[in-house]
């Protein structure tokens, strides 16, 4: 690296420093906890007369067991099916009539209900959310129809998508004890055998103010939001929540390899190493170093994987690197890709391994580190353009047990990561004993409308 280049990089970071200080998500956010345990976080953002309200329940597929997989998500669907005062479908009609957009999503760690609308309409959605926190009817006939909808959703998202099915297989192989192995949407057979009583039980167990966080971002006065929350959620009683057992994943002492066939043109490979999860935002360093490592591999235009494997060697058509150290359970570091036409999956796997071996051996360059950090800092500024993005970041940090107020600290810790730490963490992380590899073997499109069993072409690995 030339001196000129070094200076340019240094200047970029210096220029960004003051921005970073302003960019804290939590700056200006205030919170309160109601007597019944509901936590309320409000971040005023007055750029436009709009607001987003998100209610985060701390229940997701991590809380599920075999036989009832997907139940958190099914309950999410049923939350729109009515209470004694708000009949089925009325929730959506009322929010729409108020000019709002609304939806909900379920993940491994949480179930989230969100509405975005003119700030003056916030009382309406607070009232509706409080109502369905305790008064959901859970009617058997509505359930009978809605479970069909959820099965259609699974067909659409998973059954007919070889990549999604492969991911399901990968998680089920890399993790064998922890519930992160279960698909969020549930196995089809569990959906088929789910009953309305299962869902009622799930609702009674987990939907309580002391298992929820309300996040509101927008053109609002925090004190008014707190008062609204007290008025509507205040009367909902706290509930005794079930004990949550950690179900820690045992040590993995050897490489795991799994193949799946699906209708596709190209094979794909995904490699997943067991990785640490952030638990102590001030004391931990590895999750930050791994974030930077993922960035060095694939976090900006010109990063290593794309440059080396796609552009220079032309081994891959596409590559990806993924790590998310935030969550209630174990993390994985994933590397994956699709080989370029005529390149074998074995060769791509080896090329990916060569990339991580290089970092283990040679470390990373200062300008790579600087570029990754520039992306991270700029992204913090860009995130402030969207109130829904801000609310989601706050909710995610809370859900993971890290605390949204640590966002500035986390940014600082990320900026403090050294090249030596990245190399050290690469040496610890990329070890075959903790690796699972999932490969998609392409099946040809059948001529008669039914999939055939024979893989296309020579066996995987033999193609060149």
């Amino acid at each position: 690296m030339t001196l000129k280049r070094l200076l340019a990089v240094a200047c970029t970071l210096v220029a960004l420093l003051p921005v970073a200080a302003h960019a804290s998500l939590s700056a200006g956010a205030v919170e309160t906890t109601l007597d019944n345990g509901l936590k309320v976080i409000v971040k005023p953002d007055r750029r436009a007369p709009v607001v987003i309200s998100q209610l985060w329940y701390r229940v997701g597929s991590i809380d599920e067991t075999n036989g009832i997989t997907g139940i958190s998500h099914v309950l999410e669907h049923m939350m729109f099916k009515g209470t004694p005062s708000v009949p089925a479908g009325e929730f959506s009609r009322v929010v729409a009539a108020a000019g709002g957009k609304e939806n909900a999503f379920t993940s491994r760690d949480h179930t989230v209900y969100h509405q975005q609308l003119a700030a003056s309409q916030l009382p309406l959605v607070i009232r509706l959310e409080a109502d369905r926190m305790r008064n959901l009817i859970l009617d058997a006939d509505e359930f009978a129809k809605e479970i069909q909808v959820v099965m259609e959703e699974r067909r659409w998202r998973i059954e007919d998508q070889p990549g999604s099915l492969l991911y399901e297989v990968l998680l089920g192989t890399a993790l064998q004890a922890h519930p992160y192995r279960l698909p969020v949407i549930g196995y089809m057979d569990d959906l088929r055998h789910m009953t309305i009583d299962d869902v009622r039980d799930w609702y009674r167990r987990w939907y309580a103010p002391n298992n929820a966080t309300l996040v509101v971002v927008g053109d609002v006065e925090p004190e008014q939001v707190f008062a609204l929350a007290r008025e509507h959620f205040g009367p909902v009683p706290a509930a005794a929540l079930p004990a949550r057992k950690p179900q820690a994943e045992p040590e993995q002492n050897g490489i795991r390899r799994v193949h799946m066939s699906g209708i596709a043109e190209q094979p794909t490979v995904t490699m997943a190493w067991r990785a640490p999860t952030l638990t102590d935002p001030a004391g931990d360093w590895r999750p930050y170093a791994i974030d930077i490592l993922a960035g060095v591999l694939n976090g900006y235009p010109g990063a290593r994987l794309g440059t080396s494997l796609v552009r220079e060697q032309r081994i891959a058509a596409d590559v990806d690197a993924y790590y998310d150290g935030l969550g209630r359970g174990p993390s994985l570091f994933m590397l994956g890709g699709t080989p370029a036409d005529g390149v074998s999956i074995v060769r791509l796997e080896q090329a990916l391994r060569d990339q991580v071996a290089r970092i283990q051996k040679e470390g990373v360059r200062p300008e790579e580190l600087a570029r990754v950090k520039s992306q991270v800092i700029a992204a913090m500024v860009y995130a402030r353009d969207s109130i829904s993005h801000q609310a989601k970041m706050i909710g995610n940090l809370e859900s993971a047990g890290v605390g949204y107020r640590n966002d500035a600290l986390m940014l600082e810790r990320m900026r403090a990561v050294t090249a030596e730490q990245v190399q050290e963490v690469a040496r610890e992380l990329f070890v075959d004993e903790r690796l699972t590899i999932a490969i998609l073997d392409p099946l040809p499109m059948p001529a008669n409308g039914a999939a055939t069993g024979a893989p296309k072409g020579p066996p995987p690995g033999a193609r060149h």
Partner: protein, 442 residues
Amino acid sequence: MLDTVSTLRRRWLAMLLIAAWPMAASATLPIQSWQTAAGARVLLIENRDLPMLDVKLEFPAGSAWENGFPAGTASLTNSLVSAGTAHLNEQQVADRLADTGAQVSPSVDEDSASFSLRTLSDPRERDAAVALLAELLSAPAFPDSIVERDRARTVSALKEAETRPETLAERAFAQSVFGSHPYARSSSSASVASITRDHLLGFYAERYRVAGVVLTIVGDIDRAGAEALAERLTAGLPQGRPLPDRLPVVERAIAGAMQVIDHPATQSHILVGAPGMKRGDPDYWPLFVGNYILGGGGFASRLTDEVRQKRGLAYSVYSYFLPRKEDGPFMIGLQTKREQTDEALAVVRQTLERFVGEGPTEAELAAARSNLVGGFPLRVENNRKILDYVSMVGFYGLPLDYIDRFVSNIESVTVEQIRDAFRRRVQTDRLATVVVGGGNGR
């Protein structure tokens, strides 16, 4: 950054008043507009709330303009502008961009090819990012070796896409609805395989002309800064207007056939539709509001109610008009378990026929109005949304008060206008229907 008592917020208050008294129409989303020396059209919205800037260049260089070039040329040209110039290789481009923390997103649809730049507004990062994009746009080299590489990657991705039911359905639908019109074009692995560097150079020279571009700027910059930025970004573009500057008119009357394509997926992918409307269409507002009621309003729409809520036949069912330079498609889409394909299709047809025959109820129109008017602030709540909205207005040559008049346009739509517009524009006995998967008993 000094003007933090947001000027945009003050404008907002004005806008809400407009919503309450639609007669008091005056410019409230203050778009500044001018032409550069070389003839590029510039639209600016100053907003100093955040230290960032969004810029979008939109060229009439989408896939519908590929006449004389292989299908896929528009998309490959757009994505390979960032492959470097004679003086700057691909890696240098990537590194220079990464150093600024800026993001450049190329994008192509039927009508346009665009580049969105998001950067910090500090002059150091902003000027570096703008200089880089200007250099790329003025002299893309499309190096042979990179063209060859990305052509192969695109062919590979298209072959993969060609195994997917949604891709097969979209292609067949475009064919049935648009026939010989350029909107029927879909790039395929075969068409992309024939693209050469000369095609990209030729397409760039014809379509990326300075007098055709619309440049939109939103964020932390003043007028003088924006003028300088606009000159810088567009001065090096090929001179003059793109030719031709008109697309053929879409033939509205189609045969309306049913096409079934076998696929082993567990769900059938169903598309039903016909040519719809264009930007600036005289029927735009009745069709837009009517479609909200039919299938655009999510849970508030008739299609979702009939297909999903009442019968559990699909997770997602929707309808939309996609207005383009010329008539874009009107389309209804859904996916359902293959065994119930015929049942779902029958419900969709009945729902559409009833809507076109009878029109909406007054109550439905009131609910739609209430959502669209009340939800207007969500359409312009942040810089990214303002950027895309204003750029659309500029690109399609709509009046600059188009966004300001959104609310009054919605409020003036009547039940009778919706019924009349749908009856004239959606012929329920001449719809193209595509099913990928299988019908009952298949």
